[in-house]
């Protein structure tokens, strides 16, 4: 049972109450910027004649979580993808990895951290809804359990008589997201990526990473083999040098040093 949001472009009037409540809830500095930043975690954008919210989609299998080398990002069982600034080392890999371009960096700070929507995980823990859903005056942002929201979304599509695009954005995208969207215009016109695979993106790296132990074992054995062959050839050559006539052993200082070393360590070779 994990929480999510259902956003419906046909109900949003673009009033920005969600942005204002988000600022207040998360003690973020004003103003409300026109696009999401490290300090503005959600905005309403007008695209293709409708209003669409930008916020963290809270993936079921978040790429940001899988790439974070220090575990600063976590997908909680309650639904939110949360961020711990104390663990963050500022590598910004999450920013590169996110398929929705959500995490943003505090470029203006001397000691910056990442900023992104955390689905009001503190409010959720207290049994409250997200701030944005609480204040939304039209119900365009609806809070609930993801499964229930999916049913609601499907029923809205089914009973609308074609007013919606027949797709719930976030049901499948990148393996599914906790934030779902309904729209009356094609999602690609809202600036949303409609070419995301239906599997979680961490699976792509997992396919490679899961082979690392095998690779290490095989490559290790191969390299040891090379080492053994090289050493053996060396041994054979130096033992041949030792049995060769004096005139030839005087050839190089290196060969003399080797010969001396062999005598000192008592390793005569075969």
């Amino acid at each position: 049972v994990s929480a999510g949001l259902l956003f419906d472009t046909t109900r949003c009037i673009g009033c920005g109450a969600c942005s204002a409540a988000c600022k207040e809830q998360n003690d973020l500095p004003l103003p409300i910027e026109p696009a999401i930043t490290a300090y503005t975690w959600t905005v309403v954008e007008e695209r293709a004649g409708v209003n669409v919210r930008r916020l963290c989609m809270h993936c079921l299998e978040p790429t940001c979580v899988s790439v974070c080398p220090v575990g600063a990002l976590t997908k909680t069982p309650a639904g939110p993808v949360v961020y711990d600034s104390k663990r963050c080392i500022g590598c910004r890999y999450c920013i590169m990895a996110c398929p929705f371009g959500v995490p943003k960096y505090q470029w203006d700070r001397a000691v910056p951290v990442v900023g992104k929507c955390i689905l009001c995980s503190g409010r959720l823990a207290q049994g409250q809804q997200t701030a944005c859903a609480t204040v939304c005056p039209t119900g365009a942002t609806m809070f609930g359990e993801r499964e229930a929201l999916l049913r609601e979304a499907r029923s809205r599509i089914a009973t609308s008589g074609g007013a919606y695009v027949n797709h719930v954005y976030g049901e499948q995208e990148a393996g599914g997201t906790s934030v779902l969207m309904l729209s009356s215009v094609p999602f690609e016109r809202l600036g949303l990526d409609t070419n995301l695979p239906p599997q979680g993106l961490p699976m792509l790296t997992w396919r490679v990473l899961s082979k690392v132990p095998d690779f290490v074992a095989v490559a290790g054995a191969f390299l040891y083999g090379l080492h053994w062959i090289t050493r053996r050839r060396d041994e054979v050559r130096t033992s041949l040098d030792a049995t060769a006539p004096e005139s030839q052993t005087a050839a190089s200082p290196l060969a003399r040093a080797r010969s001396l070393w062999r005598r000192l360590t008592g390793r005569a070779g075969s």
Binding site: R11, S19, A133, T134, F143
Partner: protein
């Protein structure tokens, strides 16, 4: 409580998408500010008379000067007259002034105060 609109889901399964201009706004009603001892009546704030649907007016008052989630219900006339809270619009230019002694009853409305 502080959140009268808490959560009301109008989207009962089956309701068609609401056209933007007809969207009925679910806003807190009858917000009563704390009555000062010398005030004629408590101030009752009405969202309906303040919100313009066209033009995204939520942000004119939220989150500054009025918070949405943890709103203060205590405002002094001195602060408003100096341009704070209500006074940021009710300055005699954008809207009638808070110092307008002819119109006390526009805001101080005992009839709408809860029992």
């Amino acid at each position: 409580m502080v959140l009268p609109i808490a959560f009301m889901e109008a989207g009962a399964a089956g309701s068609p998408p609401t056209p933007r201009k007809d969207a009925a706004l679910r806003l807190p009603t009858g917000i009563v500010f704390k009555k000062a001892p010398d005030a004629p009546a408590p101030v009752v704030f009405d969202h309906v008379s303040h919100v313009r649907l066209e033009g995204n007016r939520c942000l004119a008052c939220h989150p500054q000067p009025f918070k949405m989630l943890r709103p203060s219900r205590e405002v002094t006339h001195a602060a408003m007259d100096a341009g704070g809270s209500c006074g940021s619009c009710h300055d005699g230019k954008k809207a009638f002034a808070t110092v307008d002694t002819e119109r006390c009853d526009v805001c101080h409305r005992s009839d709408e105060a809860p029992k």
